[in-house]
Structures are given as C-alpha cells and as structure tokens.
C-alpha cells in the first residue's frame, strides 16, 4: 500500500525481540530522499530503537508535518498508522490523537522549517499541553523540500549553498523546549547512532513530552564547509554532555551497566534510565542551569549533545485534563449519552 514497498525476504537467522519480531518488521518503505540525507539515518535509528523497545509496531501512531523530514514516517514502522498532515501542524494532530486514545505511542517527526517557522506556535503549545509523545526534529538548518532556503534554525552568518550569509539569529529549539517546560530534552546527531538510539528509546518510553533535536545534514543543499549543520561541522563541534540508556521494566538489569559515574532514574512504570555524565560540570536535572550552560557553549560554536534535561515526574496532558483512565475512543456510547429521561428533565427546566 505504500510507496516503493520493500521486497519481503525471509531471513530466519535475524535476531528477534521478545515479541518475536525482527528488525525488518519495524522497517517501512524504501526511502526516496537524496542518498546520504541525514534523515535516513534517523529513520534507521528509530527502527532500531522501536525494535529494541519491543514495541508492537501497530500500537504506534507516527505523525508528521510537511518537508523531507516529514516524509520519513513512511520509511519506518510499516505496520503503524501514519499521518503526514499539513505544514507545521503535526503537534495539533498529535494533541487530538493523544486526547482520543491515550493508549498508543506517538512519534512525531518534523523538520526545522516545519517546527521553527510555520509550526512554532503549535510546537510550544504541544509542550505546554504536555502531550505524551516523542517530538523529533530533523534539523538541517535549511528547507530541503523547497530547495535550500534558510530555515529559522540556521546560524547567523552560516552560508547557503549559493554562498549567501544568513543575517538572522537562529531559534534554538532545545532552549525553547526547556523554557516551555518539556520534561525530556535532548540533542543528537543523525550520524551518531551510538548516542541517538538510546536517546530515542528513553524518549519514546518517557511518560510525557519528550523532545529530541537531531542535527541531520541536508547533503543536497546544506552540507558545505560554511554550513553549521553539515556533517563536518558537527563532527568537529559535537560535545556530548550526558549519555543515556534506557532499560524497560521487563528487562533484567545486567552487569553491562558497570558502576561508575552513573545516575539511575526510575520512571513511574518502573523502567530505568541510566545516565552517564560526560561533562563533569553538567547537571541534567537543572532546567535553568541547562539553559545557561547551553547559552554559554553556544557562544564558542560547540554543539552540546546528549540528554540535556530530564524531569523524572512529568505532568502529562491527560493528568492536566483529568480524563478517564480508559481511552476516550473506547468508551461505549451508553456511558456518554445521558438518555431520554434526562432530556425530558432538561426540557422541563426550559419551560
């Protein structure tokens, strides 16, 4: 049913997760993005993360706006329902979907144009609302799909392919997410699977709004020397501050997690998050400290990556709304409709 379906080849020796599914069961259609586009690496990391999390793929709603990045939900989790909505408005789709059915896992994928320009309002309001989702931005500092215009995350002075310098101050989505109260905030790089996959796992399992800004270079329009969102720039300036690994409740904690400079966070369902400090002076539980730290390091051109902030007790949308524990779309009509006798009473009061 989807675009360029992948041929189904049986590989009996592929490793299986606890659901008996292989990594292939988490794939989608063949990508039609440019060869080498960072977004494809993000798709691959998402496939890996969902596989490792033992997520039933059909219990995921994958949502996006418009852009090359927003095309990617087609390229992972084929058995999940997808929604490629309108430009910048994925957060409202996610809010409504989450309101209707709190039992699914929501993964929203967006671009820097989609989120930082046309969708900025919806982005920050989804955070305020505490929608339980992973909100992932594939950030390449440019509009890929409309061919290379500067996006609002492009660094001031960074050059377009044609050599023009960007005159505007960038919007730092990570700082914005921190300020708006996101409970889980991280930054990573599409080329760093070692860092990205564990972050994705933790973010997907996180019971609140989790934001990951993934620098994902656009090889066609924004991967030249003067671009601050190019592979080479990120490789030179990447400064990981905090690594994370996620252990679901069901999984045994093995000796692989040696003691050392580690913090363990237990989430409300009993799952655990292991954090490893990479920068000694960094505290991921301090929202204001994180903002200061980010701003200080932004000045010298370094790109801080890893888990930047974590609130272990997030407030989620349904808690704020006080909704029923069951998914609203599952409530039988009889429990929603007051019935004829009540209507007669209402009529009587209006006479």
């Amino acid at each position: 049913m989807s675009y360029l379906p992948k041929p189904k080849i049986h590989h009996p020796q592929l490793p299986k997760n606890t659901l008996g599914l292989t990594r292939r069961d988490y794939e989608g259609s063949l990508s039609t993005l440019c060869a080498g586009c960072g977004h494809d690496s993000v798709s691959a990391a998402l496939i890996q993360a969902c596989f490792e999390l033992d997520l039933p793929p059909h219990r995921v709603g994958k949502l996006s706006g418009i852009g090359c990045s927003s095309k990617t939900p087609t390229y992972f989790l084929g058995p999940a329902h997808g929604f490629n909505s309108v430009h910048g408005r994925m957060p409202s789709i996610a809010s409504g979907a989450a309101a209707a059915n709190r039992d699914l896992v929501y993964i929203g994928v967006s671009g820097d144009g989609d989120t930082a320009s046309i969708g900025l309002g919806q982005f920050i309001h989804a955070i305020r609302r505490g929608v339980n989702m992973l909100y992932l931005v594939e950030n390449n500092g440019t509009y890929g799909l409309t061919k290379g215009q500067f996006s609002a995350t492009a660094d001031v002075g960074s050059k377009s392919k044609a050599g023009k310098a960007n005159p505007y101050t960038p919007i730092d989505l990570v700082q914005l997410a921190l300020q708006m109260g996101a409970g889980f905030v991280a930054r990573s790089f599409s080329g760093d699977k070692e860092q990205l996959v564990p972050l994705l796992k933790a973010a997907i399992a996180y019971p609140g709004f989790a934001f990951i800004d993934v620098i994902s270079p656009c090889v066609t329009f924004n991967n030249h020397e003067a671009s601050t969102k190019s592979y080479s720039h990120i490789r030179r300036h990447d400064r990981p501050v905090m690594a994370a690994d996620f252990v679901p409740l069901a999984q045994e904690i093995t000796a692989a997690y040696a003691p050392g400079d580690r913090h363990t966070v237990t989430l409300h369902d009993g799952s655990m998050l292991h954090l490893k400090k990479l920068a000694e002076d960094y505290d991921p539980y301090d929202r204001i400290g994180a903002m200061n730290y980010l701003q200080r390091h932004q000045a010298d051109g370094s790109v801080l990556t890893g888990l930047l902030y974590l609130d272990a007790e997030p407030t989620e949308m349904h808690a704020m709304l006080g909704t029923d524990a069951a998914a609203l779309n599952s409530l039988p009509h009889a429990s929603l409709c007051p019935g004829a006798a009540q209507l007669d009473a209402i009529n009587a009061a209006l006479r």
Partner: protein, 609 residues
C-alpha cells in the same frame, strides 16, 4: 392622545447600557410572558464591548406565533440617556415610552403622538438600597415591576422565576422581590393599569421550550457521544463549547472525578481543527465550534480532511464579517467560504438548523454523516439562533439510537480476510473503508496523507489515478445528497412563485406568507436544510416560474450555490437580501417580494381584462 390597544401582539424594546446587568432583567420579562403561555421572540442586540456602550433587547410577543423581528416598537423601556432621542423616535405612533423620571425630561425629547410614562426609578431604588452596584441592578428589576403592572404580567410568575434564578443564592431573593414590588407599586399608583396594550394568559406555547441554539447544539454533541472538543474562543460560538462543557460536567464525570470527555482550548483555530482531525482519525467523535474568521483559518485542514477522508464536525456560528466585522451582529455570509472551503476541488456537507431543536438534532446528524461519509460536516448556525432564546419544539431522544460509526473495520473483520484498501469503492457508494490506528498487528495500517494517492492508498503522482480519486469524491457527494436531511416544504399550493430560504430566516416566513396572502399574493415556500441540495430543492425550483431566494448576506450566496450546483436559469432565481447585521424581518420579505410580483400581477390582470 391615541393609545395602542392590543392584547398579546406587541413588541417591547429595552434600551440599556452594556454591562449594567439589564440582560437578565429583560430575559426575565421574556420568560414571564412565555410562562403565561404566550409565544415570544427575544433578541439581544448588543455591541462588541464589555461595558458602557448602548445595548438593546427586543421581545416580540405574539399570540399568533410570529416570533421573528418586526422592526418597529410598541413599548420602549428607555434606560439609556445616550440613545434616548433615537429611542423616542423608534416608537410607533400611539405607542409607549417608559422612562426614568428622577430627572426632568427635556421638552425637545417629547413627541406628541406617543405616550410618555415616567417613573422615578433611580430615586426609588436609591431610597431603598444603599450599595451602588445594588442600585444599578435593582433599577432593572424595578422596571420589570413597572412593566408587570403596565402589561399585566402576572407577579406570581415573575416571583417564581426569581426564586428559580436564585436557587442556591437564597439571600438574593428578598431584595429582588422588594425591587420588583417597588416598581410595581409605583406604576399602579401613577397609571391606569394595565395599559390598553397588554398580555393575557393563553395556552399558545404548548409543550414548547425557550432555549438558545448554542446550548442545544452543545447538548446535541453530548448526546451524540462526542468526547473531544477543540476550539479557540470567538463570538458567537463560545457559548456552544461552554454548554458542552457544562452538560459534560453534569453527565460525564466519574465518581472519582475523572472525565469521560476532553476539552482542549487550542492556541488558535488552525490548531483547533488539527486536534479535531487528529482525534477523529483516531476514532473519537470530535468537533470544533467557530465563526467565519475561524473557518478561514481552518480551511487548509478542512481540505486535507476532505481529501484524506476524515470525519470532522464543525459548528460555524455565523456573524457579520469580514475579519472582526460586526462580531455581535448576525448574518448568513459564510456559505460559499464554507461549502467550498480549501484549495483544490473540495465540497463540504453543510447543515442549516432553524431552531434549537434542529441545532440539537443536527449536531447528532452531523456526527453520523461525518462518520458515514468520512468527510467534514459543517453545521451552519448563526448569532441570532446561537445566542438568542428561541421558542422551540422540545428536544427529543430515542434511547434506541446507536451512533453510525460508518465503515470502520474491526480487527476481527481484518482477521476474517476482508481485503482492506483505504480508498477503494467497495460498495458503489463511493465511500471507502477505514481502520483505526492500533487495530491489528499486521493488517489494516495505512498512511494518511494529503498528497496524491491511488485506490489502494499508495502515494502516486499519476494524473489518471488522481482524477479517479477526486471523481470518486465527487460521487461521494452524490451519496451525501441521499443521506442529508431533506428540504422541508412549508407551503405548496401550486403557486407560480415560491420562496427558498435557510436557517433562521424560517422564523419570519409564516408571517411573511400570511401578509403576502393578505395582499392577494400567495406564494409557496421551501426550507433548504442541507448542502448538497436534495432533489426536492430542484423539483421545487422547476415547479415555480419565479423563486425568491432569501439570503442574509449581500451577494446572494445561497442563490449562487443553487446556480453553481443546479445549472439553473439565473433569471428565475430572484434574490431577497438582508445584510445589515440584524435578523431579517417579515416586512423586508413582504416588501421585496410584493414589489417584484405586483407588476407581474398587474400585467396578468390587465391581460385578462
């Protein structure tokens, strides 16, 4: 001096200052007359302002059942100095003007042909009540007392209403009663009561109720089983969501306090409709309420929902445009922008309620239609219906009702081998099947997108496949025409002329028809209740030489839609237009139609002579 002498047929108008609590006093008068068994048509005419500007409230009292606006005033309660001169002018010769005589009236404000009734209201309440806010509020109740004496409104009825109104705040009952008595005694003392024009108890309302359309629509959403409402505040739609919220609090809260509904106040209308789309995609009945400016912001998503085939329910409570326009005045001017909202080839199902009962019923129908057809359905109410109390048939409910969830495949059906392709017309009604996210581990997932897709749901940029898809959507609109509420024939006497109208215009049609008949001009009448137009609409047009199409907008949008959809001869559809922001009057219809028909009739009579 002549004095109007009428029983149970008159128009009261109150001139007040916005924010002085007058609306509740004026509403009290309307409800008291209604409780005396008299049909009433209350209309609140208010400015887009919170405090200080002029506001009016009009009550049409009509034993004959004409509750629409008449346009002229028999008794004016002139409580606003700012508009006093204008208010004096608006009274019919022989009519009455009640004013506060605490200060002497400037002689130039007088009119010899109307009756001035002065009561020193300010003086009376100042003597009785100490607190300035109380003085303001009780002056209103005092003039209700005066009217009770002048018009013979039964004091027991008003007192009972006051007791009901202040249930739970019993401390407020005695001072209100006192203020009411104060006014009543003052009137009895000064004037020969009742006036020759007054009310008499009748049994002319039967079991009808007095309710506003927005409350009825909000209640309809509760009964329909809507669980997600997403909206952004805008007059005059806000009270619809408020009503939904209040009724949900009454009926949808679990013993532990958790709620069987979610109301999301969005950051704007773009988000509001997005939330509805997201929730509906996920299988919850969800809706939004807005007005014209909101609809314009929602159009991109409306197009997506149309094309991706997602059920959306939208209540458009129309107001005077454009932009902020005259936000507290009524119009039916979003027809074209709603029917064809969005880019590309789109057409949306519209419903046109004409009473609170229809607001309730059509709310339920809207969800059934949206889910059956997998498309947006817009309920086109307006400020007049949404925010004013209307005399309405009581709301009815059949407990055997089951929501029509449309063609949603279950996990079992998929398991049993139903070959699911998202955009395939399996049943010949142009409506495809859908599945809800999370239904089945391996069968039934599909990708919802606004980009080109073929019958199987796959992405395509093939022109033939795109055309095939939008042609099916066009045929789906034909299916819609068989499912929407049919037009209602009000009169079909085989006349050569007929009137076509929608929504709130219905209120003045019986009066207009009677007045035309009295002039020897008998015309037929048909009320359109939905778009797509049903066959009955085209049959009615075919059966009449001249069809007057009443539009509460400047450009004749309903007429334009009939012409677009029906490929009709434009010469046969004559526009009757009302677009000053006030509800249409019977007078306007009678005048427009008779002006058009008189020469025709004269010609015909001349020819036969």
């Amino acid at each position: 001096m002549s004095r109007l002498a009428k029983v149970n047929e008159f128009v009261l108008r109150f001139a007040n200052v916005n924010g002085t609590g007058s609306a509740s006093a004026n509403g009290l008068v309307a409800r008291a007359l209604f409780r005396m068994g008299l049909p009433v048509g209350p209309k609140n005419i208010f400015p887009s302002n919170i405090q200080g500007l002029p506001t009016w409230f009009e009550i049409r009292v009509s034993e004959a059942g004409y509750t629409g606006r008449r346009g002229t005033v028999d008794l004016m309660v002139a409580m606003n100095g700012q508009t006093f001169a204008q208010d004096v002018r608006s009274v019919e010769p022989g009519g009455y003007l009640l004013y506060d005589s605490s200060k002497p009236l400037a002689p130039e404000l007088r009119r010899p042909d109307i009756n001035f009734l002065g009561v020193p209201l300010t003086e009376l309440v100042t003597r009785q009540f100490a607190n300035p806010r109380q003085r303001l509020l009780f002056k209103n109740i005092a003039y209700v007392g005066v009217l009770s004496a002048l018009l013979d409104i039964e004091p027991e009825v008003v007192e009972q209403l006051l007791r009901e109104q202040f249930q739970g705040k019993e401390k407020l009952i005695p001072p209100n009663m006192q203020a009411f008595e104060l006014g009543r005694a003052a009137a009895l003392e000064r004037f020969a009561c009742p006036l020759p024009m007054h009310a008499q108890r009748r049994d002319a309302v039967g079991d009808r109720i007095l309710m506003d359309g927005n409350s009825a629509a909000g209640l309809g959403c509760v009964y329909a089983g809507a669980t997600v409402a997403a909206w952004y505040p805008i007059t005059p739609s806000t009270s619809l969501v408020d009503a939904f919220s209040a009724y949900c609090e009454d009926y949808r809260v679990n013993p532990d306090g958790s709620k069987r509904y979610a109301i999301l106040q969005a950051e704007d209308e773009l988000a509001a409709i997005g939330m509805v789309v997201g929730a509906a995609w996920n299988g919850a009945r969800s809706f939004t309420a807005t007005s014209g400016p909101g609809v314009s912001l929602m159009t991109e998503f409306l197009g997506l929902a149309y094309y991706a085939e997602i059920p959306v329910v939208l209540f458009d409570i129309q107001r005077c445009g454009p932009s902020t326009g005259m936000p507290t005045r009524t119009q039916q001017s979003d027809l074209l922008s709603s029917a064809y909202a969005s880019h590309g080839d789109t057409k949306h199902v519209l419903l046109f309620p004409a009473s609170p009962k229809e607001c309730f019923d059509m709310a339920v129908q809207a969800f059934d239609l949206a889910e059956r057809l997998q498309t947006p359905v817009l309920v086109m109410s307006d400020l007049d219906l949404g925010m004013n109390d209307w005399l309405s048939e009581p709301l009815t409910w059949d407990d055997s009702y089951r929501p029509d969830r449309g063609k949603v495949l279950t996990a079992q059906q998929l398991e049993d081998g139903f070959q699911f392709y998202r955009y395939l017309d399996v049943d010949g009604d142009a409506i495809p099947y859908r599945t809800l996210p999370g239904t089945h581990p391996s069968k039934g997932a599909f990708f919802t997108r606004g980009s080109g897709h073929d019958r199987l749901g796959a992405y395509t940029e093939d022109g033939d496949k795109y055309r095939d898809n939008v042609d099916r959507l066009r045929r789906k609109f034909d299916t819609a025409a068989t499912l929407v509420p049919d037009a209602a024939t009000l009169r079909d006497h085989g006349n050569s002329a007929g009137i076509i109208y929608i929504g709130t215009t219905a209120e003045v049609i019986p009066e207009a028809l009677d007045a035309l008949t009295a002039q020897g001009l008998d015309v037929d009448a048909l009320r359109v209740r939905a778009f797509p137009f049903t066959q009955r609409v085209y049959d009615f047009i075919a059966a009449h030489d001249t069809v007057f199409v009443v539009d509460q907008n400047r450009d004749g949008q309903l007429r334009a839609m009939l012409l677009i959809e029906g490929n009709l001869d434009p010469a046969r559809l004559v526009s009757v237009l009302s677009y000053d922001g006030m509800p249409v009057t019977a007078d306007l219809l009678v005048h427009s139609i008779s002006t058009h028909l008189e020469p025709v009739r004269a010609l015909a009579m001349g020819a036969s002579a």
